[in-house]
């Protein structure tokens, strides 16, 4: 029943095909709230990836021991353990970053990417495949958050990673570092992604039609005979 896909695919699908932010539309809360700057986005994505990778791995290891009826509760306990580790490490090693991210690090517990991957993938696949899948999704999340953070930081405060990249003559768009800017950036990026996919599908479809149009007679006769 289950089709075995290559390990490379399991990793790469997270980057684009099922990108957590742009395609699965999961993890919207951190994607919108903390992407004020690249650094915040990067830190958030790394913390999430850490939790995602280790909880996927552990859930996959003990997937046959977890009773089906209480699986969500079990997943959450495992996820919360790793979130606590991430939160405490950040507080100890990067206090400023931890302050900037505020309540959003503890909130990784309820990040739907992690529970989603646990439910949809880790609880049904081998630990190694779950690890690859978690890494792919984590990288996809990282790309999305860094792109959003980059756009919002450059336009909203003229800087990138804290260094000024736009001249003083450029008046920063305050809206980009406000919540409204997050929604605008996310919406436009998602629209762009859909536009691209849509166009690719249309071109493929047209090519298919062209291929059949070349031999319309033979197709028609075959149909009549049948």
């Amino acid at each position: 029943m289950k089709e075995k896909k290559s390990l490379g695919y399991e990793y790469l699908k997270g980057l684009w095909e099922v990108n957590p932010v742009f395609k699965q539309v999961l993890g919207m809360c951190p994607a919108l709230a903390v992407t004020v700057s690249v650094m915040n986005g990067l830190a958030m994505a790394l913390a999430t990836t850490f939790v995602l990778v280790f909880s996927s791995l552990l859930i996959s290891f003990i997937r046959k021991l977890i009773p089906n009826q209480v699986r969500i509760a079990a997943f959450i306990v495992i996820i919360a353990t790793f979130v606590t580790i991430a939160d405490l490490v950040m507080k100890a090693k990067f206090p400023e970053l931890s302050k900037a991210l505020g309540p959003f690090v503890p909130l990784i517990v309820v990040n739907c990417i992690i529970l989603g991957r646990a439910e949809a993938f880790a609880s049904k696949n081998s630990p190694f495949r779950s690890l690859i899948d978690a890494l792919g999704n984590g990288t996809g999340f990282l790309i999305a958050l860094v792109v959003m953070g980059g756009i919002r930081e450059i336009i909203g405060s003229r800087t990138l990673l804290g260094y000024q990249v736009l001249p003083n003559g450029f008046e920063p768009w305050l809206i980009m570092i406000l919540p409204a800017g997050a929604f605008l950036t996310l919406g436009l990026l998602m629209g762009l992604a859909n536009f691209y996919v849509d166009r690719k599908n249309r071109i493929e479809k047209q090519e298919l039609v062209q291929k059949y149009r070349k031999t319309p007679d033979s197709v028609e006769i075959k149909g009549q005979e049948a």
Binding site: E171, W173, L174, I175, M176, L178, A180, G181, L184, L188, G191
Partner: protein, 321 residues
């Protein structure tokens, strides 16, 4: 609307009835609106100087250019000549503060057309009034620049350049009706002169481009809702006539809330829409943190237009209730 095109040369367009014949084509009607905006343009030049024309022209130029570029990129028919982008540009220019930065005007114009209109599919598909989308974006992006007012050329009181609404909200100073009627007060380019707006608005209603229901509902609604507050406490709340002529209410009434695309299509719906805007304006002005709320009131009501249309759908003649 559905288009069946098995063969690209033959196109059959299907739309549902009723098909109402209009006196004017979209193109003609759009140019009537441009004519109706001329008095407001003149008032902007008279009260704030000829430089304001540059702002409005920049806005128009960038709106038209954005529309042209997006249509070309998306390989659609270029529809610049229907004048809708020109109107968006004019409206956006006229609701900006005097001596507003040209680069910011251009950003607002590009945003108005690109995000306010073309993303939804172009003219006829946009949910929100594009000019107001541009203005709301500018207000959020450059909050200081957008609320920096220049006082008019013939200002009697040269001490303050606050708009009548801001003066009342923060200093409890009630501006006289006469300068507000003529336009000799601080405010956005086209919104200060009530007489210029009335000339243009009544012209639009007279030639049948704009339906009288929404403006009438808004004005009656404003008198009613502002009147209720005024009767309760005439010192704390401004009188309805002041509310009517202050800020961008009249400009919004005649030029923003009468946009055909973003307003209800049913008669009953238009009344609901107009009264809704008036109520929201009064609520925002009296209880909100901002002195003016016409822009947000119209945008909020724009968003509920599909619901209004659905619930005010006329009963089919002869059908059972």
């Amino acid at each position: 609307m559905e288009t069946i095109s098995a063969n690209p040369t033959y196109k059959l367009e299907l739309t549902s009835s009723p098909h109402v014949h209009s006196r004017w084509s979209t193109k003609q009607a759009m140019w009537f609106v441009v004519i109706a905006l001329i008095p407001s343009l003149i008032s902007a030049v008279v009260f704030f100087g000829p430089y304001q024309l540059v702002i409005v022209l920049t806005s128009v130029l960038f709106c038209v250019a954005t529309e042209y570029l997006i249509k070309r990129i998306r390989k659609r028919k270029v529809t610049v000549s229907d004048g809708s982008a020109v109107i968006t540009g004019l409206l956006l220019g006229l609701i900006l503060p005097p001596n507003f930065s040209l680069s910011s005007t251009a950003i607002g114009a590009v945003f108005a057309i690109a995000v306010g209109k073309e993303i939804f599919g172009g003219l006829g598909y946009n949910i929100f009034n594009p000019a107001l989308v541009g203005r709301a974006f500018l207000q959020a992006a450059f909050p200081v620049a957008v609320t920096t007012w220049t006082e008019p050329n013939f200002a009697v009181d040269t001490v303050t350049s606050a708009t009548p609404l801001a003066a009342f909200k923060f200093d409890k100073v009630l501006t006289d009706i006469q300068p507000m009627f003529l336009g000799n007060v601080s405010g956005s380019l086209g919104e200060t002169s009530a007489i210029a707006i009335l000339i243009g608005g009544i012209f639009l209603i007279a030639v049948g481009v704009v339906n009288y229901r929404v403006p009438l509902a808004m004005i009656l609604g404003m008198i009613l809702f502002a009147g209720i507050f005024w009767v309760i406490d005439p010192i704390k709340y401004p009188n309805p006539v002041f509310q009517l002529f202050a800020g961008g209410f009249l400009f919004g009434t005649f030029f923003m809330a009468t946009d055909w695309v973003t307003t209800p299509i049913t008669s009953k719906g238009m009344w609901i829409f107009g009264f809704g805007i008036a109520l929201l304006v009064v609520v925002i002005r009296i209880f909100g943190g901002l002195p003016e709320g016409v822009m947000y009131a119209i945008l909020i009501m724009n968003s509920v237009v599909p619901i209004i249309n659905r619930f005010t759908y006329p009963r089919i003649f002869g059908a059972a209730k």
